[in-house]
């Protein structure tokens, strides 16, 4: 509960951001240390690939989908009435 209230309080967000960025760096760094036995493709063999791909696919997906939504798929809520 306390954690949730802590996260919910906007005053603590700068600190939370720092924790978040540190964890990003840690995840990125550890990816350079692990062994890769099962890697099949060049990108799987590249350390840090997953971090890059995760970020890019998230941004790409949201961007494309929202774009299609705005030019075509979004309608007013009473569209079918």
């Amino acid at each position: 509960m306390r954690i949730i209230n802590y996260i919910g309080d906007a005053a603590n967000w700068p600190k939370i951001k720092i924790v978040f960025y540190i964890s990003l760096v840690v995840v990125f760094a550890v990816d350079f240390l692990v062994e890769r036995h099962h890697a099949e493709t060049w990108w799987d063999k590249t350390p840090g690939w997953s971090a890059f791909y995760g970020f890019v696919s998230c941004v790409f997906l949201i961007f494309i989908v929202k774009f299609i939504g705005h030019i075509w798929l979004y309608k007013k809520e009473d569209y079918y009435d």
Binding site: M1, I4, N5, I7, G8, F20, S23, L24, V27, F28, V30, D31, L33, V34, E35, R36, H37, H38, A39, E40, T41, D44, G48, W49, S50, A51, F52, Y53, G54, F55, V56, S57, C58, V59, F60, L61, I62, F63, I64, V65, K66, I68, G69, W72, L73, Y74, K75, K76, E77, Y79, Y80
Partner: protein
């Protein structure tokens, strides 16, 4: 081997009809105990073939029990139990009955060994589940329910045609792996199954109806229909390579449309489709690892989708709002719901130590072994999208974000307990994989927790979170809806009607003219002959009979009025008079009674003296 056994479906299907006769605590105990009993039955059963009956010369096999059907039976009954806890406060026998028929028929499909019994249970499933939509008793729910049942009827027809074609090809109704012969029967059955699995473009029944179902109903719906489809595809269509493509399309389609949604149950519904995409890929790959992955993912999906729908339902129940744009700041009032929801969210996003991690890893590894790197990349992108919508966007805009100062409190304890049980199972599966492997249907040797696997998963997820943070403005929900292929039968139907009124009217006039000269004229003459025969002869007889009846009725009526009523009335009048006299005598004054008694005594004494 055939021996007598009690089908677990009977407990639910026959048991459903007992529900209205039980009240209060007894009913609640009954609702929880029957799933426990069914679970005990299924755990104690040894694999084999049970319940074979001859019907019109065909074998109906109600109990084909092996590891594949058992694992689905376990999870369905567990989910039935969790769902009943979640719904235990609902005072609507109809909903409980529908849920049980739905659960029972799902189990019926799981254990069916032949296509005929499978088809019967398949149809019961569709009609029982739609009641959970109608039970919301709103116009939108009714409309969505009708669209839902129409598509399911279509799926049933495809399945039935496929079954009959299959029979004419092979002479057998046995349900098992199909011949990959590319026959029409093969495809019709596949289409029937795929519609229930939410394959676009005929997937719209799912995101259309699930958000309109009752709060507790959608929890059941998210668990059964689609997972039954996964089961039948696993059983019959494993290794059908086209499913790899279909599955990838489903995964991307679902996650894309989910990103557009504002109604959060609709968003979660689209993620069901996306998750089913993973399972389709697993089924299409057809290796032991992939099929285990598909089955495991179905099991996990029942649990974490259950949590997500339960959490969403709790928020709707407590706030009355079902759109993200209306919510915000609930972390202060509903923190427990948030924590439990997040367990489901971490599971569906495949965080290590949560359930989805295992099953998703299996499917992705199997695709890697199959040398399909592009498929793997696309599925990983879907993972990122799933994490964004389900685990970041919904909680952020529901529980944090703009504090809308909504009055709310935690949902009833039973709802939290149900979510808690599912949450514990999710964490248990993710944390103790060996235990989970032992119930999987196919032999498995898989190490999910390797170093590179953990770091790459975390890499994708954490940097997706970074992407979410960057794109947060773009994701703010608005009061809009998004189109989908249901446009064709919702808007398209109306357009067709308008088109029909204008364009078709010209053709209609011509055809009408032709019709009236060539067909109507002769028909009219024939009709007039018939008419005169009808008036002269038949009507004469009928009218004559009617006159006789009317006469008899008149006589009996008069007899009734004058004789019977007369007697009754005269009796009544007598009684009336009599009572009028007695009423006057009963004045209630003591002195009058005393006077009557004295007069009476005097008469008696006088009579005695005179006599």
């Amino acid at each position: 081997m055939t021996e007598w056994w009690l089908h677990p479906s009977i407990l639910f299907i026959a048991g459903a009809f007992l529900i209205p006769f039980l009240k209060g605590k007894v009913q609640k105990a009954y609702l929880l105990l029957i799933p426990v009993a069914a679970f005990a039955m299924v755990v104690s059963i040894t694999p084999g073939t049970y319940g074979v009956y001859k019907f019109l010369g065909y074998d109906l096999i109600f109990g084909k029990i092996d590891k594949l059907s058992l694992i689905f039976a376990y999870i369905f009954i567990i989910m039935a139990f969790i769902g009943m806890i979640y719904a235990i406060h609902v005072e609507d026998d109809g909903q409980h009955m529908a849920a049980w028929l739905y659960i029972g028929s799902s189990l019926g499909v799981i254990f069916a060994g032949d296509y005929l019994s499978l088809f019967v249970f398949w149809e019961i499933m569709a009609f029982a589940s739609v009641y959970l939509v109608f039970a919301r008793k709103k116009k939108e729910s009714n409309d969505a329910g009708f669209r839902y049942i129409l598509i399911h009827i279509f799926s049933g027809v495809c399945l039935l045609v496929g079954i009959l074609l299959h029979y004419s090809d092979t002479g057998s109704f046995l349900f098992g792996p199909v011949q990959h012969d590319g026959s029409l029967g093969f495809y019709m059955i596949l289409i029937g199954f795929l519609i229930n699995a939410g394959m676009p473009p005929l997937h719209t029944w799912l995101p259309d109806a699930y958000p309109e179902a009752t709060i507790t109903g959608s929890v059941f719906m998210s668990a059964f229909t689609t997972k039954v489809a996964v089961y039948v595809l696993l059983r019959a269509y494993s290794g059908t390579e086209i499913l790899i493509i279909f599955g990838t399309i489903m995964a991307i389609y679902g996650v894309s449309f989910a990103t557009l949604q504002n109604d959060f149950r609709k968003l979660l519904s689209y993620h069901i489709i996306s998750q089913l995409g993973y399972m389709m890929v697993g089924i299409g790959l057809g290796t032991d690892l992939a099929m285990n992955g598909a089955a495991a993912h179905a099991i996990n999906n029942v649990l974490y989708k259950g949590i997500l729908f339960m959490g969403a339902g709790a928020v709707i129940q407590m706030t009355g709002k079902h759109k993200l744009s209306d919510l915000g700041g609930l972390h202060k009032t509903m923190p427990v719901t948030l924590i439990l929801y997040m367990i489901g969210g971490f599971s569906i996003s495949a965080f290590p130590l949560f359930a989805g991690y295992l099953s998703k890893s299996m499917i992705l590894s199997a695709a890697n072994h199959h040398h399909l790197p592009i498929i793997v990349l696309l599925l990983l992108m879907v993972s990122a999208g799933t994490f964004v919508s389900t685990t970041l966007k919904i909680p952020y805009f529901m529980f944090f974000g703009d504090d809308k100062k909504i009055e709310a409190k935690e949902p009833p304890l039973n709802m939290l307990i149900a979510m808690g049980i599912a949450g514990i199972l999710c964490i248990a599966i993710g944390s103790f994989p060996e235990l989970f492997y032992s119930v999987l249907p196919f032999p498995i040797e898989f190490e999910a927790y390797t170093g590179d696997h953990i770091t790459s998963t975390l890499g994708i997820l954490m940097f997706t979170a970074l992407g979410f943070w960057v794109m947060l403005k773009k994701l703010t929900p608005h009061h809009v809806i998004s189109l989908d292929t249901d446009w064709f039968y919702r808007k398209g139907g109306m357009l067709f009607l308008k088109f029909a009124e204008r364009r078709v009217a010209v053709v209609d006039a011509f055809v009408g003219e032709l019709h009236s000269t060539m067909v109507l004229g002769p028909a009219k003459r024939l009709a007039s002959v018939c008419l005169s025969f009808d008036i002269g002869i038949i009507d004469g007889i009928v009218n004559g009979a009617a006159w006789v009846v009317r006469l008899a009725a008149w006589i009996s009526h008069n007899f009734d009025i004058y004789i019977v009523d007369g007697i009754v009335n005269s009796m009544a009048t007598l009684v009336n008079l009599n009572s009028a006299v007695w009423r006057r005598l009963q004045t209630g004054y003591l002195q009058n009674y005393a006077l009557i008694i004295v007069v009476g005594l005097m008469l008696i004494i006088g009579g005695w003296i005179l006599g």
